[in-house]
């Protein structure tokens, strides 16, 4: 009888934890696995709602860069670094795009939104700095 009660308590506790903390833990573990080799994540919002975040990035020359661009806004945005021939195309609201490239030259490169997203669209830009190793 006592063993039955103990087993019942353990099973109940495991089930409740699995259905409450479980999804949160699984989400965090899976997300950290997917982003294990990510250089940076850039959040996109229209300039009046916060602009790119971060707007300045520094990466070493000659090393692979992996960027995830997350559009958390309610409108379509874009992301491009023309000098490095990087273009994510249109990123719909609620979507993410992952880009990989290797900058070969030291310098400062502008990135900006390629979709007319608001009346402040032209201010939606940032800088990627490529530095010596």
């Amino acid at each position: 009888m006592k063993i039955k009660v103990i087993v019942s308590v353990i099973v109940s506790a495991v089930l409740v934890l699995a259905c409450t903390v479980g999804p949160i833990a699984a989400t965090l573990i899976y997300e950290s696995y997917l982003t294990r080799d990510l250089t940076a994540e850039i959040i996109t919002r229209s300039p009046e709602k916060g602009n790119y975040s971060p707007r300045f990035l520094s990466v070493p020359v000659g090393e692979k860069v992996k960027l995830r661009i997350r559009n958390v806004d309610t409108v379509v945005h874009g992301f491009a670094i023309p000098a490095l021939q990087v273009d994510a195309g249109e990123i719909k609201a609620g979507h993410s795009v992952t880009l990989e490239f290797t900058p070969e030259k030291i310098g400062k490169y502008d990135f900006y939104c390629t979709v007319w997203c608001s009346e402040h669209h032209l201010q939606m830009r940032g800088v990627l700095e490529v530095t010596a190793q």
Binding site: S12, E31, V72, K92, A93, V97
Partner: protein, 474 residues
Amino acid sequence: MPEQNNQQQKLLGLIPLNWRFDLTSVPGVRWLLKRRWFPMIAILINMLVFMIILTSGIMGGFSSGNYSFGVMIVWILWWVMLMMFLVPVLSRTWCMICPLPSFGEWLQRLRIFGVNNKLRGLNLKWPRRLRNMWVMNFLFLGTTFFSGFFTVKPLATFFLLGGIIALGIVLSLIFEKRSFCLYVCPVSGFQGLYANMAMTEIRVKDPNICAKHKNKTCETGNKNGYGCPWLLQPHSFERNTYCGMCLECFKTCPFDNMAFNLRPPGPDLLVNKGRGLDEAFKGFIMLGIAVMFYVAMMGPWGGIKEWVRGATLRGWLSFVGVHTVFCLVLIPGIFLVTAWLSKLASGQKEVSLKTVFVNLSYCIIPLGLAAWIAFSFGFLLPNASYILHIISDPFSRGWNLVGTANFPWTPVATGWLIPLQFITLLVGYLVSADFGYKLVCQTYADPAAAKRGFIPLLVFLTLVIISFGWLYGG
């Protein structure tokens, strides 16, 4: 027509309202309903989904609602399932598997699957004056003031659901059993109202067995289960309104005397017991909200959309004011005039206006439910395809769990939208008129008076259906 009891009446003159099929006569169903782990296992699975919804409210960014797991599951999938299937077919089955009050209930019981009838917490009685639907009426109406946020912003949905869970826990520690579900939960009230139209019910098989049973274990509980958590008397159920279908009475009944019946829709509307102004106003409020939601979300009036989404405080306050007056004053006011005209036409002075008002108000329930089903078609068909995206990428992190993250937005059968809405509304109108006539016959003893008293009610229902027709088709 002389007043007939439920045993003799037919829905639309076709289906006998006393037809029943007890699903527990199927051995597997009976076995399932008597297990202690059911419906708890379903609640736990549902809780897992709700945790993903809550997590998506925080982790899912602040993007537009149609790419948010929380917004899509709660306001598209859940709402549509609730209005189009769960409530009209399975009564309050949602309450059976709802995870929101579970934390509070577990704290009361200190058990999850087992039975412990010595409940913890203060176990206070709910205030007598509030033992009705009024709190739920105002809370649900109040919730709709923020519909422009909940249906768009994932974080707002997180706060709404989180708030309901927190309130459920606090009230469960103060008041007895499911007082929160019975008197407070905003989702509970309208489910109870529309569950009167449901095609299933929990009732006793043989009332004589209950009459002879002195212990009434369905109320008090025993080693097999809890006394009715909804503070009801399962041995004398006549309406679905307040039964949360927790199935405890199936477990506690020593005579196996509880039935889970299939039935035609609507016989509870004719139960002349337990009716009140609170339930009548729930019907008006739900009808009013169905109209206002359509106007705000699907209508062509951009200015009203700006009001609802709170572009300016003044605009939002205007929406709150107009919405409140429409639901609490205008619709009930027009119906009061209808009831007064009905009484006048009937010539039955001995029947009070309040009785006429309350009794006849139950006939708008089928039309109200139909309006909600028609409204639900309006966002199900254009938006359902977003669900394929959000189940693959629930937190807007670029995941592709089941390979459907890039499934494009694909409206489905939208050419059929307006015909479907019109057919639904027409069925609702016919059923409302049918029950309206039955209710008039119940209210006025004299058949000739009933026929005269039905005319203003039919005019009211016809004006409502014409208004909906103009709104949906025009």
